[in-house]
């Protein structure tokens, strides 16, 4: 089983639009949206949800006023400042550590497990899709990412699909770490801006930890050719393969407005060919060999 994870470091570089375009070119694949915090891929894929499952995350403390003797132990022990002078737990601050629960001398604190979101098994015009929605303000995004990736893998095995295309989250924190481990290749979508290259460098540093092969493509490259070249040089220095360049093309936005992928909107443009070439590059790279042999030579340095 091979999995292509598409990430960007910086948000808004066109990662999801490109993921959708790749999905429409892929054959026999399963789609996975690992950007559970601000999931957008479904807006282009319009999945028909076949199965909906609650995602149960951590617990939160609730003090039972009838039992509480106002001893103050819980306030003293809570390191997150979540319990008020009136012995009320602020659910937003509560980290779910359960320390107050265990130390309350009269067992006055309940600790119910929380529903932190839900995840879906769906069908799209490009094949099955696994996606999720994390509740607002929730923690545990990393756990939910691991869950959707695991489900995508199981689904792919069950259906005999040989490829998973995963839309990853922005940043370098907990959900990104959960997205990268065990990926066959990382495709990093960068925009040619000072912030784009800065964020790419941090994401490359992170990927180097996980020894995954990396590839980079520059989106909207014509906004700043010099920066595009700098990104490609940085990539080569870090043993990240350069996949190609995609022009700044308003039809990405226009197709998005219609809920379509690039290739389903309007007349073919030069961008179509650029994206096709990039897809060919990805799928024909040594790391993507059908035998799934780990290609150590191409891991990010």
């Amino acid at each position: 089983m091979r999995e292509i994870v598409i990430i960007s470091g910086k948000g808004g570089t066109g990662k999801t639009s490109l993921t959708a375009a790749f999905a429409s070119l892929a054959k026999n694949s399963v789609l996975c949206d690992a950007d559970v915090d601000a999931a957008d891929l479904h807006l282009l894929m319009q999945p028909e949800v076949r199965q909906r499952t609650d995602f149960m995350g951590g617990c939160k403390a609730i003090i039972n006023k009838d039992l509480c003797t106002n001893c103050g132990t819980c306030i003293d022990l809570c390191r997150f400042g979540a319990i008020s002078e009136q012995f009320q737990v602020d659910a937003i601050r509560c980290e779910g550590c359960g320390v107050c629960v265990d130390f309350c001398p009269v067992a006055a604190i309940d600790f119910p497990v929380q529903r932190c979101g839900e995840w879906y098994l769906s069908e799209t015009r490009f094949g099955p899709m696994v996606h999720a929605r994390l509740g607002i303000g929730e923690e545990n995004s990393g756990k939910l990412v691991s869950l959707v990736r695991k489900e995508a893998r199981q689904l792919a095995e069950k259906q005999g699909a040989d490829l998973i295309i995963t839309d990853g989250p922005p940043g370098i924190g907990c959900p990104v770490i959960a997205s990268i481990g065990g990926a066959t290749v990382l495709v990093i979508v960068v925009e040619p801006t000072v912030s784009g290259i800065h964020d790419m460098e941090r994401v490359v540093d992170l990927a180097a930890h996980f020894k995954v092969p990396g590839m980079v493509c520059v989106n909207k490259f014509d906004l700043n050719i010099k920066m595009t070249e700098a990104i490609e040089q940085l990539a080569l220095r870090r043993n990240v393969a350069v996949l190609g360049r995609v022009s700044f093309d308003p039809s990405f936005t226009r197709s998005m407005v219609e809920g379509k992928t690039l290739f389903e909107y309007g007349e073919p443009t030069a961008t179509w060919q650029q994206v096709r070439d990039i897809w060919t590059h990805i799928t024909s790279s040594p790391s993507m060999n059908t035998l799934g042999i780990v290609d150590l030579k191409s891991s990010i340095q």
């Binding site: 807006l43 980290e95 923690e139 995004s141 940043g171 924190g173 912030s195 964020d199 936005t253």
Partner: protein, 288 residues
């Protein structure tokens, strides 16, 4: 006065708005970059960094000479950060949430605390604009404690502008909680609208007044404007798509420096926010 600039969707121009508003004000203001996973504000504000501090969170350290392997610590840990295996106690530092439970529960006093590096906080200034950012260590998963640490450095005498991370989960809440106003930056596309709706839900959870900046206001459709109207979210500034702005941004240049007519507009943006905060303050005191 604390103004948190957030967006839901990444790449809509949060940093641009934060930096340009700070530049338009020029003095009496500080910019806190709380997008600690990918901090970018310094690339545009170009502050002189005066000092940096390493930020650590406490994690347990077990003294095996005192330990009786009773497993009380691993039982209390809700994050599976401790495991007692034979005559060893394993600490998985990266899973630890620093709740102190294990230390409090250990009957032998065998647990003390050591630090895990979260990242750094950098302090600096550009002219009269104070600047602080947090930089998450690469490989570190937990950004909220670092965000809280950056926010703890805020100077309450100043106007504080916070550049928040994207999304709607715990790091964003850490960057918005306790602010006087949340400025949401969005773009008029289906992705922008979808993520804006999520961000508005998060803001409402916190009960903080908010308003919108619509960036690249002419690239998509009108649905964001319709949504703003139906939800009574004031649109405080619209910025049209202008290739010159996009190119200037790519080079690390700022709108108010390159296109002076925008200096006034960013100043106005701030004054509108100030008026909303004031009105609301009065409304609240009337209600009491």
């Amino acid at each position: 006065m604390i103004i948190s600039v957030a967006s839901g969707k990444g790449g809509t121009g949060k940093t641009t708005i934060s930096v340009n508003m700070a530049l338009a004000l020029g003095a009496g203001v500080e910019l806190l970059d709380c997008d600690v996973e990918e901090p970018n504000a310094h690339l545009f504000l170009k502050p002189v960094i005066e000092r940096s501090e390493r930020v650590e969170v406490p994690v347990p350290l077990v003294d095996l000479k005192k330990c009786t392997f009773c497993r009380k610590c691993s039982d209390i840990c809700r994050f599976n950060a401790l495991a007692v295996v034979g005559k060893k106690v394993l600490v998985f530092q990266e899973l630890c949430h620093s709740c102190g439970g294990c230390m409090a529960v250990c009957p032998e006093g065998a647990i003390t605390e050591t630090g895990r590096e979260l990242g750094t906080v950098n302090f600096g200034a550009r002219g009269d604009i104070r600047f602080i950012n947090g930089q998450l260590r690469v490989g570190e998963a937990m950004s909220p404690p670092l965000i809280k640490r950056v926010r703890a450095e805020a100077d309450l005498q100043l106007i504080t502008i916070i550049d928040a991370p994207p999304g709607t989960s715990c790091p964003v809440i850490a960057a918005m909680n306790g602010a006087d106003f949340i400025l949401m930056v969005t773009e008029p596309t289906p992705f922008g609208l979808h993520d804006l709706k999520l961000a508005v839900e998060a803001v409402r959870l916190l009960g903080i007044p908010c308003g919108l900046v619509i960036n690249r206001a002419d690239i998509g459709d009108r649905k964001v404007f319709d949504y703003a109207e139906s939800e009574k979210l004031p649109v405080l500034l619209t910025i049209p798509f202008d290739r010159r702005i996009a190119v200037a941004y790519s080079q690390g240049k700022n709108i108010v420096d390159e296109f002076p007519e925008w200096r006034e507009r960013f100043g106005d943006l701030f004054r509108k926010i100030e008026a909303i905060i004031k009105d609301r303050g009065e409304a609240v005191s009337c209600a009491k």
